[in-house]
C-alpha cells in the first residue's frame, strides 16, 4: 500500500502551503495582541485581521463591517440560532424553521432552545435532499423569527434553492440564516442577491486552518452576542482573536476566489467520472443526493447488502480515506439522519460512502478508486447474508 488518496475533503482539508506560509510569522514574530493599539506589534496584528476580513467580505459581496470571526462553523451556527432566539426572548417570537438534513450544529441547537420556549419546524426533503418551498411557506407563523437552511448538504452535497428561500423570508420579514460551511469556497455566494441575513463559514473546509470560522451578519440584524467579554470584533464577539488562524482563513479564501469557476468545472468533471465509474462497474448502488444540483466535489453512494464501516476500513487499507455519513457521526451506530430524510431505508443507509474530492485528485485517482471499490464491494458481498432487496427490508 503505497498509494495515499484523501477523499474526505468535506470532513476537512489539508492546509494549503501558501496558507501556512502566510500564517507563519504570526506565531513568533508578529505575535502582538490586536487589542494593543498603542504599539507596533499590536497594530500589525489588527491590520492582518482587517485584511482577512476584507477578503471574506469581498468574496461574498458584503461590507467588512458585516463579517465576524468565530471559532468555526459550529460556533457560527450556534450564534445565529441562539443569538436570534435570545434577542427575541420573552418577546412573542419563538419559532424557527429549518430542515431535517441540517448539520448537528443546527439541529442540536434547535433542540436545546426548546427549554427556552423555542419551537422548531423541521422541513422534509425529497429523495434528492431538496426542500419543498410550498411546505416552507405553509410553515410560516406570525411567531416565526428565523429560517435556517444550509446552502449545500455536507453528506449528499445537495444545493438548496437559496435565492427562492431568501425571497420568501424577505417577503415575510423573517430573518434568513444560511449554513454555508460546505458551499463557501466552492460556490460563488452573493449575500445581497440571495437576501441572506446571517451566514456561517468555516476555514478548514477550503484549505484553511481548523478552529476558525466566519459569520456574516447583515447590518441592522437584531441578534444577541453569543460570547461576551472584551471589545473584540467591534464588541460583537469577545475573546482574543486567533490572529494566525484568521490570517490563514483570509489567505484560503483569497486562493479559493482566484480560480473558483475553473476549479468547480474541473471537479465536476472528476465527480461525474467517479459517479459513472461506480454506476457502470458495481451493481445495486444508489446515488444519494441530487444528480446535478450538488457540490462539485461530492459523491455519495449506497452500496446495497454491505455496511459502510467495513467498506471504509478496507478502503483505508488501500490508502483511500473516505467517510460514511458525516465525519461527526462516524463511530455512531445510527445511520445518517440525512440519508433517512431522503427516504432511504436503514439497511441501505448503513452501506453509504461519501467521497469528497480536492484539486489534488487526478483522473487516474478516480479510476483507481472505482477499481478498488469494485473489489471491496465484491469481497464484502460475498461475505454478506443479505443478497437482495427483500432481505434488506426485513425488520
Amino acid at each position: 500500500m503505497s498509494k495515499k488518496l484523501y477523499l474526505d475533503n468535506a470532513a476537512t482539508t489539508r492546509v494549503k502551503r501558501e496558507v501556512l506560509d502566510e500564517m507563519r510569522q504570526y506565531f513568533d514574530e508578529l505575535y502582538g495582541n490586536p487589542s494593543s493599539q498603542l504599539y507596533e506589534l499590536g497594530r500589525k496584528s489588527k491590520q492582518a485581521i482587517e485584511k482577512a476580513r476584507k477578503t471574506l467580505a469581498d468574496f461574498i459581496n458584503a461590507d467588512e463591517k458585516e463579517i465576524y470571526f468565530t471559532a468555526g462553523g459550529t460556533e457560527s451556527d450556534n450564534w445565529a440560532l441562539k443569538g436570534v432566539a435570545f434577542a427575541n426572548f420573552n418577546k412573542g417570537k419563538n419559532h424557527i424553521i429549518t430542515t431535517k438534513i441540517e448539520h448537528h450544529a443546527i439541529l442540536h441547537t434547535c433542540e436545546y432552545l426548546e427549554k427556552f420556549g423555542v419551537e422548531t419546524t423541521y422541513l422534509d426533503v425529497d429523495r434528492y435532499g431538496l426542500v419543498d418551498l410550498e411546505q416552507l411557506k405553509e410553515s410560516i407563523r406570525p411567531e416565526t423569527m428565523l429560517i435556517s437552511v444550509m446552502y449545500a448538504n455536507n453528506e449528499i452535497g445537495t444545493i438548496q434553492p437559496i435565492e427562492e428561500i431568501g425571497k420568501i423570508a424577505k417577503e415575510h420579514g423573517i430573518l434568513f440564516h444560511v449554513d454555508a460551511v460546505q458551499a463557501f469556497g466552492s460556490i460563488r455566494i452573493d449575500v445581497n442577491k440571495l437576501n441572506i441575513d446571517l451566514m456561517s463559514m468555516s476555514a478548514h473546509k477550503l484549505g484553511g486552518p481548523k478552529g476558525i470560522g466566519g459569520m456574516y451578519i447583515r447590518k441592522g440584524t437584531r441578534i444577541d452576542n453569543f460570547i461576551h467579554g472584551g471589545g473584540q470584533e467591534r464588541g460583537r464577539r469577545a475573546g482574543t482573536e486567533g490572529v494566525q488562524n484568521i490570517v490563514g482563513f483570509g489567505k484560503a479564501v483569497e486562493i479559493a476566489s482566484r480560480n473558483l469557476d475553473e476549479r468547480a468545472e474541473r471537479l465536476t468533471a472528476l465527480r461525474n467520472r467517479l459517479v459513472e465509474g461506480i454506476k457502470n462497474n458495481i451493481p445495486d448502488v444508489v446515488l444519494n443526493g441530487h444528480p446535478t444540483r450538488r457540490l462539485p466535489n461530492n459523491v455519495n453512494f449506497s452500496f446495497k447488502y454491505v455496511e459502510g464501516e467495513s467498506i471504509l476500513l478496507l478502503l483505508d487499507m488501500e490508502g483511500i480515506s473516505a467517510s460514511s455519513g458525516s465525519a461527526c457521526t462516524s463511530g455512531s451506530l445510527d445511520p445518517s439522519h440525512v440519508l433517512l430524510a431522503t427516504g432511504l431505508d436503514h439497511g441501505t443507509a448503513h452501506g453509504s460512502i461519501r467521497f469528497t474530492l480536492s484539486e489534488e485528485i487526478t483522473e487516474e485517482d478516480i479510476d483507481y478508486t472505482v477499481e478498488t471499490m469494485k473489489n471491496i464491494i465484491a469481497k464484502l458481498r460475498a461475505m454478506s447474508p443479505i443478497k437482495n432487496d427483500e432481505d434488506l427490508k426485513k425488520n
Binding site: 447488502y305 464501516e309 467495513s310 455512531s332 451506530l333 445510527d334 436503514h346 439497511g347 443479505i386 425488520n395
Partner: protein, 143 residues
C-alpha cells in the same frame, strides 16, 4: 481504534461462507441496526462441530467477532460451544471499543441460535439452552 487481532480477523476472516444442508443455522440482528450474522454448523454424531461457516453484514468488529467465534467453536462439542460468551469473544479479540461490544454479543447469540436450531431439528436438549428463545435475544437498536 481496533486491536491488531480484530484487524487481522477483519482483513482475513476465517470460515466465511455457507454450508449446504447444515445441521444448524442461526441468524441474528437485522439490517435496520446495521448488523446481521448468520452461522452454519456441521455437527457429527458425536456432537462435535466438524465445520462452521459464517456470513455477516456489518462493521469491522461484527465481521471479526463472527470470524473469531467460528474459530473458537470449531472442533468443540456442542456442549462446550454453547458456553461461548461474548466476554470470551471480546477477550480473544484483544478488546473492542465500547460502542462495538454489541458485536460480540451478536456473535454469542448467533452461535446459540445455530445450536438451538440443531437441537430443535434433532429433538435434543442442550444444557444451557433449555429456555432459549431466539426472539428474546434480538437486540433492539434505538430508532
Amino acid at each position: 481504534m481496533y486491536s491488531e487481532i480484530v484487524m487481522d480477523h477483519f482483513r482475513n476472516p476465517r470460515n466465511v461462507g455457507r454450508i449446504e444442508n447444515a445441521d444448524g443455522v442461526g441468524q441474528v440482528g437485522n439490517p435496520k441496526c446495521g448488523d446481521i450474522m448468520k452461522i452454519y454448523l456441521k455437527i457429527n454424531k458425536d456432537e462435535i462441530i466438524e465445520d462452521v461457516k459464517f456470513e455477516t453484514f456489518g462493521c469491522g468488529s461484527a465481521i471479526a467477532s463472527s470470524s473469531i467465534a467460528t474459530e473458537m467453536i470449531k472442533g468443540k462439542s456442542i456442549h462446550e460451544a454453547v458456553g461461548l460468551s461474548n466476554k470470551a469473544v471480546v477477550e480473544a479479540l484483544g478488546g473492542l471499543p465500547p460502542v462495538k461490544i454489541h458485536c460480540s454479543v451478536l456473535a454469542e447469540q448467533a452461535v446459540k441460535s445455530a445450536l438451538y436450531d440443531y437441537a430443535q431439528k434433532n429433538n435434543k436438549v442442550i444444557k444451557g439452552l433449555e429456555n432459549y428463545k431466539p426472539e428474546d435475544d434480538e437486540i433492539h437498536c434505538q430508532h
